[in-house]
């Protein structure tokens, strides 16, 4: 037992990685699905065990290949990444039952196993980015997850999926390149690739070479910003989300951007924050305007969007704005809001995109104008959409409220009441676009596409309902989400004086 416990960090990544390879050998779609579901289901167990260990004891450090850090690659699990690991793996597990029919519906039979292989590879990549304590290893996993993502997006039914995938590939590659340049600069000045080790050496290096250290941050920041779709570097995202297979969209929306945000937190707070006073770095200066622009511009874009998937994709860009705003605030409440919104938004968007996938499955379209009356023909699915949408707006009593509450408190703590006001104001725009969907779904006569639709099969419905329930539940029981998040914020700010 102890032997297994000691190996948990490696297993977290190795299991989905090996699983992906084996999935490639499986030819039949259903078999590959069952395999992928099994593998996925193992990951939250490991993540939970690690979170428990980190919560009760201390940081876990794992030496890859037996080589001690900083020479060897270190897998390092602290509260922040244990939390993100659990989030990513748990949301994926909840979604897996949904995958079978949705994927079978949207992807040709002989390609399904390949899709699951790519999905598992992507999962392994995301978990790898999160768990590794090594800057270059993170890049490798970033590439693994990105490559598999390009493939998943390209497998969408729509012809535009190829273009979207290609564009994401170019942008993603630029992002990865900038990231690796940043890592290179850091390696030049500190001689280390280990996050924690760079952190300890950076104070000295920064004194000797202040410019490269700052340039390194610039490259890392912009590179990761591309991955997390920070406005205005978000343009790849709406198309990628809109044309990817429904399941892939939900998976990516719930996990991929969150992991990128994690990486940003890690670089800013655990690497730079340890050595340098964060207030002297231009992170906040850059993040404030971009976050607020994202909150408003992307939300308004969502209002005018007629394709529901694109609408939610823009909404994601706006929500990422909230998360980065919390990072920009750089205080306890703001950062708690950031981390807790990372968690809540994953649940909310997971639920919303799964609901859209179910609509694609039954009604065959997600054009808002064709969906009149869908709320009456798919009552449970759309009820889930409405509840998750309420959580997205931040109605009190829902998970979204908790995030916004902490962000507002953070803004007030920072003495920036106009920002608190902007948070509330932009939430009202969410009311408009969710309200628009509700109006069409409930108050319009039933159109031809939804006329014969009904709620999807149980295997698809249950994940939707579970995630919806979670996005309400975590507004009431804030112990797991906000409790962990505030401790995470505390540790992250530990470096701040």
């Amino acid at each position: 037992m102890n032997a297994v416990t000691a190996q948990l960090p490696a297993l977290q990544v190795v299991i989905p990685l090996l699983g992906a390879i084996i999935a490639a050998f499986l030819r039949r779609g259903t078999l590959a699905w069952a395999w992928a579901a099994l593998i996925t289901a193992l990951t939250p167990v490991i993540a939970f065990a690690q979170l428990h260990q980190v919560w009760t004891n201390d940081t876990i450090s794992y030496r890859m290949g037996g080589w001690p850090p900083p020479i060897g690659i270190e897998y390092r699990v602290d509260l922040l990444n244990a939390f993100v690991l659990l989030l990513v793996s748990l949301v994926s597990t909840i979604m897996m039952p949904y995958a079978r029919r949705s994927v079978a519906h949207e992807i040709d039979g002989d390609k399904q196993a390949w899709f699951y292989c790519m999905y598992l590879l992507g999962l392994a990549g995301l978990l790898g980015i999160t768990i590794t304590g090594d800057a270059f290893n993170a890049f490798v996993f970033l590439e693994i997850s990105s490559l598999s993502t390009y493939v998943m997006i390209a497998m969408g039914r729509d012809r535009r999926a190829l273009v979207a995938s290609y564009q994401y590939l170019i942008i993603g590659t630029i992002g990865a390149t900038l990231y690796v340049i940043g890592v290179g600069l850091l390696y030049l000045v500190t001689g280390s690739l280990n996050f924690a080790d760079i952190g300890t050496r950076l104070a000295e290096a920064s004194a000797a070479y202040p410019r490269p250290v700052l340039a390194g941050l610039a490259f890392l920041f912009v590179g990761i910003s591309l991955k997390l779709a920070l406005f205005p570097l978000h343009v790849w995202l709406p198309n990628a989300y809109a044309y990817a297979p429904s399941f892939a969209t939900a998976f990516l929306a719930a996990t991929a951007t969150k992991v990128a945000i994690y990486l940003l937190l890690r670089i800013v707070f655990s690497v730079y924050g340890v050595a340098i006073d964060l207030n002297t770095l231009p992170v906040s200066t850059v993040l404030y305007p971009l976050s607020i622009a994202a909150m408003f511009i992307a939300s308004i874009l969502a209002v005018y969007e007629t394709n529901l998937k694109r609408m939610l994709a823009y909404s994601s860009v706006a929500q990422i704005g909230y998360i980065t705003l919390g990072i920009a605030l750089m205080n306890q409440a703001g950062l708690t809001g950031s981390v807790v919104h990372l968690f809540n938004h994953a649940l909310i968007k997971g639920a919303l995109f799964l609901a859209l996938g179910a609509i694609v499955y039954r009604a065959g379209t997600i054009k808002l104008d064709d969906l009149g009356g869908i709320g009456r023909t798919m009552p449970l699915t759309f009820a889930a959409f409405v509840f998750a949408g309420m959580s997205l707006m931040g109605v009190p009593g829902t998970a979204g409220f908790i995030s916004k509450y902490y962000l507002i408190v953070g803004a007030l703590d920072a003495g920036l009441w106009p920002i608190a006001f902007l948070i509330v104001a932009s939430s009202l725009i969410a009311l408009v676009y969710i309200g628009r969907a509700v109006e069409v779904a409930y108050f319009r006569p039933i159109a031809s596409a939804p006329a014969n639709a009904k709620d999807p099969p149980l295997m698809m419905l249950v994940p939707i309902l579970v995630l919806t329930f979670a996005s309400i539940y975590f507004g009431i029981d804030t112990e797991l989400s906000a409790g962990v998040a505030s401790r995470v914020a505390e540790t992250l700010l530990g470096g701040l004086k």
Binding site: Q167, I174, A218, I297, Y304, Y405, T478
Partner: protein, 562 residues
């Protein structure tokens, strides 16, 4: 903690309300009756002491089960059961489900130990009760809207007050407060809106009579009584409440004496009765507070009984104007009998629940040496014969015969509900000790002394004599009495109609001005944010690369300059 929250009576009723939506037939009825009973059982099994929780760093006390909470909880659960039994034949699932949510809200408020929990349940009550009014049919839509507006206002006042109170004192727990800061004034104002205090009391007589024959039973029970309950907890002994309460009591009597519609009359009666309680809270001694608690408990039952009687008359005859009714006693004997019991109870006749509860408040005024208050309370007690005590039963069930109305007693379930309520009124009056042991304060009080009984008999009989002599002056006449709601309803109507050509012209210009500006803004937004707008269309990959470079450059520049 979670278990005790799940087994709280309020959450049980919420589950019941949900279950109602998905059931039909016999299961529907079992749920409708079963969950209030379950809630009643759970009230008595509520965890002693308080259950605390933590929400966003605030210490919450979702359940605080002390003597006062148990008394109100038990009475509310009982009233919910009686109302459900009375409404058993009602086909509107929305109304019944809302009624259970409404009762859940009331129980939630009763057991809430902190202001945040209270506010949540408070708003649940407001929403559920609005829905009940809406279920009164198309004629109820406008009253329901006005009702919602007033309660929205009350909710905003309360929320602002709570937020301010927590910000200023850092304390979320509901404790006895003195109105010495603006948040506390706001809290008091928010509570008084729900209590039916001036200047917003008109919502009671506006909205309640608009509800259905069954809906008003629920409405009459919860909103005002929970307000009395929270006032008892938060503002005992605030002197201004005495005068507000007396004004309410007199207002209720005067307007009820003029009223023609039986259900509007009962709405005024509710305000009048609330006035006595609010005044009791203002006196604030242990005896007075015991009186308010006991009187609330008694009033819940007899008011519900009278409202049931009115509901039965409405359902069986289709009429609610007293000018159209009369001598129904022969046709509806049981309803008439129930009405008399209710009338006796509200008049505080010895051997009824009103006698053993109201006299405590009057005595408390005497013991505090408040002669003016005491005299006023005595006068108000005498005035009861002007409405529910004598005027209502006489004009509806006795009095001059009207053209024959073909009607009988209502169906069995409604009869049982009325009979149960009537029996409760008598039982509490005859054996008051069962009620007294549940009171919050330890006060020994003996209601049945020769002096008490004699005073009450003299008071009522001579008041009745006056009424008898002047009865012709108070004959029901068609029409309504203008109320303070005129102040906001009339200008509202004027605004809606556009009160004169000149202003109408200005209005049109303003609107078209706003419209053109809005259209301009909309066009601007579409140009930039529409699906084919600057931000919305898919940018060429090169443009994205440009922005990436730009951002990188900007970051480096800021870093270099900073």
């Amino acid at each position: 903690m979670t278990t005790s929250l799940l087994t709280s009576p309020a959450s049980a009723l919420l589950v019941g309300a949900l279950a109602l939506l998905f059931t039909r037939g016999i299961a529907h009825k079992i749920i409708l009756l079963g969950f209030p009973v379950l809630a009643l059982i759970l009230v008595f099994h509520a965890p002693t002491g308080s259950v605390t929780a933590n929400y966003l760093g605030y210490a919450l006390t979702p359940i605080r089960a002390d003597a006062l909470a148990l008394l109100f909880g038990a009475v509310f659960a009982l009233a919910a059961f009686l109302g459900a039994l009375f409404a058993l034949d009602r086909s509107s699932t929305l109304e019944l489900s809302s009624a259970l949510v409404y009762a859940a809200g009331a129980l939630g408020v009763v057991f809430a130990g902190d202001w945040i929990t209270l506010f949540v349940w408070w708003e649940i009550m407001a929403i559920a009760s609005t829905l009940i009014v809406v279920c009164g049919g198309e004629k109820a839509y406008r009253p329901a809207f006005r009702y919602a507006l007033v309660h929205f206002l009350g909710g905003v006042l309360l929320m602002a007050g709570i937020a301010g109170e927590i910000a200023m004192s850092g304390n979320t727990t509901i404790t006895s407060l003195k109105p010495d800061s603006w948040p506390r004034w706001l809290i008091l104002a928010g509570l008084l809106v729900n209590a039916g205090a001036p200047p917003f009391w008109a919502w009671v007589s506006d909205a309640y009579p608009a509800s259905s024959w069954s809906g008003m039973v629920f409405l009459s029970v919860f909103t005002t009584k929970t307000a009395a309950y929270v006032l008892m907890r938060a503002f005992p002994g605030v002197e201004g409440l005495i005068w507000i309460g007396l004004v309410m009591a007199v207002y209720g009597i005067v307007y009820a004496a003029l009223e023609n519609d039986i259900r509007r009359l009962l709405a005024f009666v509710i305000v009048s009765q609330m006035g006595i309680k609010v005044a009791g809270v203002g006196i604030g001694t242990p005896l007075a507070l015991n009186g308010v608690a006991a009187h609330s408990a008694a009033a819940v039952i007899y008011t519900a009984l009278l409202v049931m009687v009115a509901g039965s008359v409405m359902r069986q005859t289709g009429k609610t104007r007293m000018s159209d009714l009369g001598s129904l006693a022969a046709a509806m004997p049981l309803t008439a009998f129930a009405c008399m019991i209710g009338a006796l109870a509200i008049a505080a006749f010895p051997l009824t629940s009103g006698f053993v509860s109201k006299s405590m408040i009057v005595d408390a005024a005497a013991k505090q040496h408040l002669p003016g208050v005491w005299i006023a309370l005595l006068a108000v007690s005498a005035g009861v014969v002007l409405h529910a005590g004598l005027r209502l039963p006489w004009l509806v069930f006795f009095g001059a015969p009207k053209p024959r109305i073909a009607a009988g007693d209502p169906p069995q379930s409604m009869r049982i509900a009325m009979a149960l309520a009537a029996v409760l009124c008598m039982v509490i009056g005859i054996v008051p000790d069962g009620l007294y042991v549940m009171l919050p304060h330890q006060v020994t009080y003996v209601p049945y002394t020769a002096s008490h009984v004699l005073v009450q008999l003299q008071l009522l009989s001579f008041a009745a004599l006056t009424f008898y002599l002047m009865r012709d002056l108070l004959k029901p006449q068609p029409g309504i009495t203008l109320d303070l709601d005129w102040l906001y309803r009339r200008p509202g109507a004027w605004l809606a109609c556009g009160f004169d050509d000149l202003t109408a012209g200005a209005w049109t210009r303003l609107v078209s001005g706003i419209n053109s500006k809005a259209a301009w803004l909309h066009d601007l937004l579409v140009t930039h944010h529409g699906p084919t707008g600057t931000f919305g269309r898919t940018w060429p990959t090169g443009t994205m690369a440009f922005w990436t470079t730009f951002l990188l450059g900007a970051f480096l520049l800021i870093a270099a300059l900073g």
